[in-house]
């Protein structure tokens, strides 16, 4: 049982993305974190990735046609690089990182564990309130599949090695070169599922990310070497994540990457390593062909390593049949030993976004366990600020690594420039250079070019503060007009640099205004993710108001019978609601919707429409958990023939015992998904269909069940279900997007015809029921909510995270978070984790006593003010008022920085910091000179 006086020190094992996220969230919340990393540096698998983002926008960056006649300046979007996170973890005062270290032993219980840490050189003991295991999975050892020639032929690489090749290609003067002879490969092949979905070797589950990273690596390779053609051999294309389907479509359509069904089962070498031969089946004709490739990439899966088994033994926690850490679904965080939590891939393979979510959720779990353990944060000490009033502008210009020297030449000629630094890297090394040169050259303006300002402002401002320079004397520019990554003509890059420099020279010191944090949360939507977010926040000690537009809480769970992993959702929901009702800190308001939100992070005020009228609620954070809805099909005679039903109808009917036991069932996948209208994968419908098929077979093993699909996307551990269904004799037939199955109603049956792409033959099925796997569509209220929150939705009507990979639960607006189906289709397990993750992120704000207000606000020069009241009249937020001196004054915390008053002030007494008239005019002056 929990100790009376729990320790506030938390031990995290494994410094990958999930461990880092957990560490940061906990440290921000006020815990003292010990992060133990087994290797020589934190970052895990993700630090070795060239890029990690899989959004459709990505790599739009350059595109294979990117190279024009003109000399192009590579302008990478660093949005998805790990560096800002690494720096944050390494410099956070609440986090101690131990490299090359491991947990050696652990005893005690929640609130008071005693752990021994050791490395080769030292050993230390510490008390810890809780432990998070985030030691990750390892890439499959390709030598175990010797037929694929890894280790035998130099040009057979694993995908991990190929990432390194891409990093080399991306370096200045680098090119894509194959290892054997440095030649640019003309043809590259990817082989999928190496060491995954294999009952003999590696893992029998699906590694969930490799289909997507293969597409990513292929596209990136094409941008570095447009003349290279690439083929990806696969079993099923599993593009199940947010925006992944579009990403894959781009790979096919815009990058000309060829996807071929069917895996060559070996790689054959040629004399002198001239080429590698693969044998495959031509899908259309059925012919077997041998083709030569210059490079073969093995898409290796993520499998548990020896270290995970060892860790489990040391910590005394159970593993599953897959040797993954055992959790109790739908929970993905709590292990079977109280006080020990799991985060990241250790409970099942996933991408960075999910690993991050699990990290935040683990942090929340710790907060729930020992809420009293939070400390008042140690204030970081900064050197006193340098006074720069009256000084001449001394500007330093820093150019990102990889930018051409020509730019440096231009930089030197920019007025006020006293220092130019080339080759600035995004990590700690770069920051050191920055701090050192600012001090040495006594810089008072800093311009950093070649970085995304949204991502890097924070890190670089912090560096300025550390040297005693006001953090707002900084400008970060991405060098392209739109700030998007991609090649930029050199001439344009020079212009952008000059324009940014003009703005920089006019910067003035600014100060944040502090205000107290309202320590309560508002959660919108009481589905499974919202309920879990609310519970977690309440258990961490924060009051929560949970609003639900329907008259009852529960969301889609009320219409669901089972999760795909087989858990009955009814009892689960009942229990969940009981917990929520029993939690005094939660106020559930049904029949209520959000009307308006105003204020800033830590100090929001919302108008909520309740059955008893509008109510005003003050809260520090906001969590959106609005869910999504089911697609109502118009295809396949749905609604016309009662034998055509949806997957959810089927589940309900079976649960009610009203579904006949002897009928033949045909299921059709991707109804309303992966279509022109909804060009995304609904992620859950394959597992749902397979689950229902298993249940149908369990009722009566002799009945026939056919699943007609385009790809079966039982990603991750759901692959077990797919195998179970095949074992049970469920028939899976694959059709092509262009040749969907046809259905013809007869009096006593439904005649289904499908062209099976494997047999290359038509199959006529006589069925009794047709079950449609209907996809997800974004909630109807999203549009309205987005309007209320001043945020944008993606093309499909779902919410968009501030940053897909490392901040999957954060909204663009600080202090607002989101979770569950409103972001993208999610299984119940994922929705639960995301709910908790949002709570973990939110707690990091709620735990603070005060926050700083936004610096971008209007200020009045009282000497100029003519007290005309224009500003008072025109401000939409009533920020300006006339003070005792009879002059206008702006309430910094209320002002939102729109600048309306500024442009209307007849006396030009107002100005908007960070976007002053001087800055705009100076920038236009630069253009004038061109």
């Amino acid at each position: 049982m929990k100790q009376a006086n729990p320790s506030n020190e938390i031990l995290i094992s494994g410094g990958g993305v999930s461990g880092m996220r957990a560490a940061l969230d906990l440290a921000e919340t006020g815990y003292k974190v010990h992060l133990v990393e087994g290797s020589s540096d934190i970052g895990g698998l993700a630090k070795d990735l060239e890029k990690s983002c899989m959004r459709a926008c990505c790599a739009s960056a350059s595109g294979p046609e990117g190279q024009g006649e003109e000399e192009m300046v590579r302008n990478d979007c660093f949005l998805c690089t790990l560096d800002p996170l690494l720096v944050e973890v390494k410099t956070h005062p609440g986090i101690t990182v131990y490299n090359n270290a491991k947990i050696e032993s652990i005893e005690g219980g929640p609130g008071a564990f005693k752990a021994v840490l050791s490395s080769g050189k030292w050993k230390t003991e510490l008390e810890t309130g809780a432990v998070i295991v985030a030691t990750g999975l390892e890439p499959f050892d390709a030598s175990l599949k010797s037929e694929l020639g890894w280790g035998r032929y130099p040009d057979v690489l694993t995908s991990v090695e190929f990432e390194k090749l891409l990093i080399d290609a991306a370096s200045p003067g680098g090119k894509l070169a194959r290892p054997s002879d440095g030649k640019i490969p003309e043809k590259i092949a990817f082989l999928q599922c190496v060491g995954s979905r294999d009952v003999n070797v590696g893992a029998s589950y699906c590694s969930s990310v490799c289909c997507q990273y293969a597409a990513k690596e292929a596209m990136t390779a094409r941008t570095y070497s447009p003349e290279t053609s690439i083929t990806i051999f696969y079993i099923d294309v599993r593009s199940h994540g947010k925006d992944w389907e579009r990403f894959t479509d781009r790979a096919k359509d815009d990058f000309g990457i060829v996807f071929k069904k069917g895996l060559p089962s070996r790689v054959t070498g040629t004399p002198g390593n001239r080429a590698l031969i693969l044998r495959y089946e031509d899908e259309e004709t059925g012919e077997y062909r041998e083709e030569e490739f210059d490079l073969v990439v093995l898409s290796v899966g993520l499998v548990p390593g020896e270290s995970l088994r060892e860790t489990a033994k040391i910590l005394g926690i159970q593993l599953t049949d897959h040797d993954l850490i055992k959790v109790n679904p739908p929970d993905e965080i709590n292990t079977d030993r109280a006080g020990i939590f799991a985060a990241g891939t250790v409970t099942g393979p996933c991408d960075i976004a999910e690993a991050t979510a699990r990290g935040s959720a683990a942090a929340a779990a710790v907060g729930e366990l020992i809420p009293e353990g939070r400390l008042k944060k140690d204030e970081k000490k900064y050197p006193p600020e340098r006074d720069i009033t009256g000084q001449e502008v001394r500007m330093g210009i820093y150019l990102a690594d990889g930018l051409p020297t020509a730019l440096a030449g231009a930089a030197r000629n920019i007025p006020h420039t006293v220092h130019v630094e080339e080759g600035l890297k995004p990590g700690e090394e770069g920051l050191m250079t920055l701090r050192r040169t600012i001090a040495k050259e006594k810089l008072n303006r800093v311009l950093i070019a070649g970085f995304d300002p949204d991502m890097y402002n924070g890190v670089f401002r912090e560096a300025l503060r550390e040297t005693g320079l006001n953090p707002y004397l900084l400008e970060v520019t991405a060098l392209s007009e739109t700030g998007l990554p991609g090649p930029v003509p050199e001439k344009k890059a020079v212009e952008m640099l000059k324009r940014a420099a003009a703005r920089t020279a006019k910067l003035r010191p600014l100060y944040d205004s502090k205000f107290p944090v309202n320590k309560s949360a508002l959660v919108v939507g009481a589905g499974v993710s919202g309920l879990n977010a609310a519970l977690s926040l309440a258990r961490q000690g924060f009051p929560v108001i949970l609003i639900e537009k329907e008259s009852e809480a529960g969301g889609r769970l009320r219409k669901t019978v089972k999760t795909s992993s087989g858990m009955e959702t009814g009892p689960y929901l009942k229990d969940l609601l009981k917990q929520v009702k029993g939690e005094p800190r939660i106020t559930l308001m049904t029949g209520s919707t959000l009307k308006e939100v105003s204020g800033v992070v830590g100090d929001f005020t919302s108008a909520v429409m309740t059955p008893s009228g509008e109510q005003e609620i003050d809260h520090g954070v906001l969590v959106i958990a609005a869910g999504a809805s089911e697609y109502r099909p118009s295809e396949y005679m749905f609604g016309e023939d009662e034998r055509v039903i949806t997957q959810s109808d089927l589940a309900l009917k079976m649960a009610a015992g009203t579904f006949p036991k002897d009928k033949t069932i045909v299921m059709i996948q991707c109804v309303g998904s992966r279509s022109d209208e909804h060009p995304y994968c609904s992620r859950t419908c394959c597992a749902d269909a397979v689950r229902n098929a298993i249940d149908l077979k369990a009722q009566n093993p002799d009945r026939h069940v056919f699943i007609l699909h385009r790809d079966i996307r039982t990603y991750g551990l759901a692959e077990d279900l797919y195998r179970e269904a095949r074992d049970a004799g469920v028939n899976f037939l694959r059709f092509d997007e262009d040749m969907p199955p046809g259905v013809e109603p007869r009096k006593d049956s439904l005649q289904v015809r499908i062209y099976d792409t494997q047999l290359r033959a038509n199959i006529a099925i006589t069925a009794d029921y047709l079950v449609l796997s209907c996809g997800w569509v974004a909630g109807k209220s999203n549009e309205e909510l987005a309007g209320t929150l001043d945020t944008v939705l993606d093309e499909d009507g779902f919410f968009v995270p501030a940053q897909e990979k490392f901040y999957p639960q954060d909204m663009e607006c600080e202090g607002m978070f989101m979770c569950g189906g409103c972001i993208y289709p999610a299984s119940i397990e994922e929705a639960v984790t995301q709910g908790r993750a949002a709570a973990g992120r939110a707690a990091a704000i709620l735990a603070k006593e005060e926050l700083a207000g936004p610096p971008m606000h209007a200020v009045v020069d009282p000497d100029l003010c003519a007290s005309c009241l224009s500003c008072v009249r025109l401000c939409p937020y009533e920020a300006p008022f006339i003070n005792d001196e009879g002059k206008a004054e702006v309430l910094a915390l209320v002002c939102r920085g729109c600048g309306i008053c500024v442009s209307e002030c007849p006396a030009k007494a107002l100005s908007l910091e960070l976007c002053t008239d001087e800055q705009v005019l100076a920038e236009l002056e630069v253009v004038s000179a061109l």
Binding site: E147, C193, R197, D198, V199, N200, I235, K261, G262, L263, P264, S265, R266, R279, Y280, E281, G286, E287, Y288, T664, D702, H704, F706, I712, Y722, R723, R726, D727, G729, N731, F732, R734, M739, G742, R753, Y755, D756, Q758, L759, R760, A761, N762, I763, A764, I765, T766
Partner: protein, 190 residues
Amino acid sequence: MFPEKAVLSAPVDPGFLRKVREESGEDPSRCYQCLRCSTGCPLSSNMDYTPHQVMRLIQLGQKDEVLGSDAIWVCVSCYTCSVRCPNDINIAHLYDTLRQMAVREGYEIKRSQIPIFHREFLGQVKYLGRLHELMLMGFYRLRAGGLFDDMDLGYDMVRKGRLGLLPSFPHGGKDLKRIYDYAGKEAKTS
């Protein structure tokens, strides 16, 4: 909208799948069509149905297509497919069962030489306990035709002492007869 190719109807009696599973101990329904078997098979381009297609046909209960196929006789039992199948289906062994079923159930066998050869081989072993290569070639030629096909090769081999002219004395005593009787009895009951 569909290309005019063979139309197979489903569902058919699932008994075939069950029988194949029981008799072979292998589970073809496990197959998820990765095609590793077929792309690795040295003779897939000579088969009317490639190994993964045979798995699919068994799953669909297409007994006539499977047992009447040429593919099961083209297979040389090299086990490449078996060791590369990620679902641990011992396809080569499954094919043994299919061939046995095809013979037993009187399906027309397109490559009749193959079962003749095996019958000759096992016949010799039954009576002599060991095999006599020259005799086997002789008998086989007699039954399957084309007696003189390999004669010059055979002559060279005899000349070089690579083929013995005389068979050895019988081996294995009564054991072999009993083994054959047992096997014959078992085959009938299945």
